[in-house]
């Protein structure tokens, strides 16, 4: 198989990819009704982003 071109993403894009994929998977596995799934996915994604960006900001003073 031929080598695929390397994927180059920013920190935020990699983080967003992780958060979206995991939120959707958790939503489908954890909830049955479509409305509940959408609510769960959005809430989970919001918390991922909130915690990720929050921890990033908290580490900023120690980054240099």
């Amino acid at each position: 198989m031929t080598a695929i071109p390397p994927l180059e993403v920013t920190h935020f894009q990699a983080f967003l990819l992780f958060a979206v994929v995991i939120s959707v998977a958790f939503g489908f596995l954890g909830r049955r009704r479509p409305k509940d799934r959408v609510k769960y996915i959005l809430w989970s994604l919001f918390l991922f982003l909130l915690v990720g960006i929050g921890v990033g900001w908290a580490m900023f003073p120690f980054s240099r």
Partner: protein, 147 residues
């Protein structure tokens, strides 16, 4: 549902031994679904006609593996030098057959000297753990313990 099953039990002789020695009817079938889900992400749910979940698990694990390998993440092998390598290998093996896919597309080897490679390693491990969770969900669903 619970009430009716309790009544059924109480209607019979309370001290009589159960006819079925298996702790849960269909246990071996549930185990088979779990193993199928591990080997091919989503298969455990597909066999139970949970099409939406099967598709999402297949795509989620596939996307994470593809992105992780494309970002030159570390696909761990058996020849790990320390405990972290072994843990990484176990996590990567969680993707089942997609582990071979990751090995096949990452022909250039890993490059964790950049942030991309480090993220890729995490995405690969996440794919494995997510697939193990999905396989466990398929097993529990077959036992009737998950919605």
């Amino acid at each position: 549902m619970e009430e009716s099953s309790q009544n059924t039990i109480s209607d019979g002789a309370p001290s009589a031994p159960r006819k079925n020695d298996e702790p849960f009817p269909g246990e071996s079938r549930a185990v088979a679904f779990g193993i199928a889900g591990w080997l091919l992400p989503g298969l455990g749910h597909a066999l139970q006609r949970m099409w939406g979940r099967a598709l999402v698990v297949f795509l989620a694990v596939g996307l994470l593996v593809f992105a992780g390998a494309s970002m030159k993440g570390n696909v761990f092998t058996r020849q790990g030098s320390d405990a972290f390598d072994t843990l990484g290998y176990i996590a990567d093996l969680g993707t089942g057959s997609f582990y071979l896919f990751a090995r096949a597309i990452e022909t250039g080897g890993a490059d964790v000297s950049h942030a991309d490679g480090d993220y890729g390693t995490r995405l690969l491990a996440t794919a494995g753990v997510l697939n193990l969770l999905a396989a466990l969900h398929a097993y529990e669903a077959a036992r009737g313990r998950k919605a």
